[in-house]
Amino acid sequence: MKFVRRIAYRTFMFLLTLVLLVGIWELYKATGPQDGGILFGARVLPRANDTAMPHVSTMFSRYGRPEVRGSDKEIWQVVLSGAWFSLRLSLVGFFLGTTIGVGLAVLMARFKTVRRGLLPYLVMSQTVPLIALAPLVVSWGGKLEIGSFVWPRWLSASILGTFLAFFPVAVGTLRGLTSSPLAAVELMSSYAASWRQTLFKLRFPAAVPFMVPALKLGASGAVVGVVVAEISTGLKGGIGRLIIEYAREATGDPAKVFTAVFGAAALGLTMSGLVAFFDLFLMRNRPRETST
C-alpha cells in the first residue's frame, strides 16, 4: 500500500510542478518586454512575443492540427510515432549501456589495477563531442560485416545513446559496489563466502541506492545520445529529426517546434520513469531516510 501511495504522491508533485511551470511561462509572457530586455547591448531578458514564446494553449492546440497543410495526419500522431521510434532506439542504447557499465564496474571493483588503468579513459571518453563521434560510428558500422549481419542505420544512433549511458552507470555502480560496510564484508569473509557470493548477496543489493540515480542519468543520457545522433546523421523517423525540421518553420509556425520538444521531454521522462519504477520495486522493503 505504501508502494501505491508513494507513486500517487510522486505523480501529484509532478503535476503540481507542471502547473507551476506553465504559470511562470504565462506570467512572464504577460508581463515581460515584447522585444526582450536589452542591457549594455546584450539581450538579457527573452522576448515575450508570440513568435518566441507562444501561449501554452497554442502549443497544445497545435497537437490537434495537421502536420502540414493538407496532410491527413494530425501532429500528435506524427510526434507520437517519432517519440516511439526514438524510445525504442533509446531502450536499445540504454540496455547496452547498462550492460557495459555494470560489467565495467564489476571488473573495476574486482581488480584494482583495472580500476586505476581504466577510469581515466572512461572519464576522457566523455569529453569527446558526440557530434564528432556520430559520423564515425555510422561509417564504422557501415563497414562492419559479420556473416549475414548487416548494420542497420538506426543501430548507430543507439550506439551513441550507449556511449552516453554507460558512463554514469559504470561510475555509480562502482561507487555502490565498493560502499558495502566493512563489517558486512568481514561477515561474508567469516562465512568463507566466495567473491561471487559476496557480489550477489552483499555488494549488488547494497549498491542499489547508488545505482538508481546513475541509471536515471544513464536513461536520459541514452535519449540525448539518440536524439543528437538522429540530428547529426540525418536518421529519419525519430523525434530528433522532427525537432530539426520543425525548428526551420519557427517563424511561421512557432508552436510547432514545441510539440516536438515536448515529445522529446516526454521520451526522457518515460525512460527515467522506467528507472523510478525499478527503484520503487527494488527498494520497496528498505528503510527510507526521506519518509514522505
Binding site: A183, E186, S189, S190, Y191, A193, L202, N285, R286, P287
Partner: protein, 276 residues
C-alpha cells in the same frame, strides 16, 4: 604433543600481529600471545582501546593473518576452520542486511553453505525460537529494536550450529537494561547449544557476569597481562549480580587492569626520584 580426545576449542601459540611492518606507522598490535580455550568455555577479552583484543579475535577468526605464531580452532588451522564454518561471528553493529527479512538474514550462512530451501527455513524457525523472536521472521531488520537486531545477529551466527562463537562488543551499542537482559539471554543460548564463546568487551561487570575466565590485556604492544578465573558456577541469574563473588571478581579484574597503570605511574615516579 599427543592426540587427546579433548581438543582445545581455540589454541593460540606465540601469536604476534604487527601492522605496517617496517614503515613509520608500524603498530605492534599483539605481542607473543598464548591462550588455550577449552570446549564449552566462555572467555572474555578485556582491556583499554588499542590493547589488541579485537585483533586477537580477528586472528582466531582468520580475518587477519598473524605476523608470527600459530592459531588453531577445533584442532584445525584457523584458515581451514573458517572455510569449514567452525565459528560464527557477531559484531557491535548487528550488521543485518536491510534487504532481507529476519528469517532470510538468519539463513544467510546456510545459503552460502548450499543448504536447500526447506532445510534452511526449518533451521531459521528453530533459531528464531531460540532467540525468542518467532513472530518476527517476516519483518525487516530496520523494523526491530537494537536489542532484537542483536538477537537476530546471534541467531545468524549460530544458525549453522558452529561449535565456536566469536563476539566483538556485541552489546556495546545497547542501553544498560537491554544489555543485562541480552547477557542473560546469551548465557541461556550458549548453555542450550553448548557453544564455546570468545567475547570482546569494554565492560568489567559484563565480562565477569558472562565468563568462566577473563583475559585482561594491556596496550602498546598488546599482550595478555593476566587471566582471571571467575568462580560463579555454571548457573548464573540476576541474583549473581548481587553475589559477593561477583564483586570480588570485578575487583580482581579492575586491579589487573589498573596494574598496568599503577606500574606505569610507579616506575615514572621512581625514575623521577633517581633523576634528582
Amino acid at each position: 604433543m599427543s592426540v587427546v580426545a579433548n581438543i582445545s576449542a581455540v589454541e593460540v601459540i606465540g601469536a604476534s600481529k604487527i601492522f605496517n611492518e617496517g614503515t613509520d606507522n608500524q603498530v605492534d598490535a599483539l605481542l607473543d600471545v598464548n591462550l588455550t580455550i577449552a570446549p564449552g568455555e566462555f572467555v572474555s577479552l578485556i582491556g583499554p582501546s588499542g590493547c589488541g583484543k579485537s585483533t586477537l579475535l580477528r586472528l582466531i577468526a582468520n580475518l587477519l593473518e598473524p605476523t608470527q605464531g600459530e592459531i588453531s580452532v577445533n584442532g584445525k588451522t584457523s584458515a581451514q576452520a573458517r572455510l569449514d564454518q567452525e565459528y560464527g561471528m557477531a559484531f557491535q553493529q548487528a550488521g543485518l542486511f536491510d534487504w532481507r527479512t529476519v528469517s532470510k538474514n538468519i539463513e544467510l550462512p546456510l545459503e552460502l553453505k548450499g543448504w536447500d530451501k526447506k532445510k534452511r527455513a526449518v533451521r531459521a524457525a528453530e533459531m528464531l525460537e531460540l532467540v525468542k523472536l518467532h513472530d518476527f521472521g517476516n519483518m525487516y531488520p530496520w523494523q526491530l529494536s537494537g536489542g532484537m537486531q542483536q538477537r537476530v545477529a546471534i541467531a545468524r551466527a549460530l544458525a549453522a550450529h558452529p561449535p565456536l562463537l566469536l563476539m566483538d562488543e556485541p552489546f556495546g551499542a545497547l542501553d544498560e537494561m537491554t544489555r543485562e537482559y541480552m547477557q542473560g539471554e546469551l548465557l541461556r543460548i550458549c548453555a542450550e547449544t553448548a557453544t564455546t564463546v570468545v567475547f570482546v568487551t569494554h565492560s568489567i561487570p559484563e565480562a565477569v557476569y558472562l565468563s568462566n575466565r577473563v583475559v585482561v590485556m594491556s596496550p602498546r604492544p598488546g599482550r595478555i597481562l593476566e587471566i582471571i578465573p571467575v568462580n560463579l558456577g555454571s548457573k548464573r541469574s540476576e541474583l549473581t549480580r548481587a553475589a559477593d563473588g561477583f564483586f570480588r571478581s570485578i575487583t580482581s579484574v579492575r586491579e589487573a587492569l589498573r596494574g598496568t597503570h599503577a606500574d606505569h605511574v610507579a616506575s615514572t615516579a621512581i625514575r623521577g626520584v633517581e633523576d634528582r
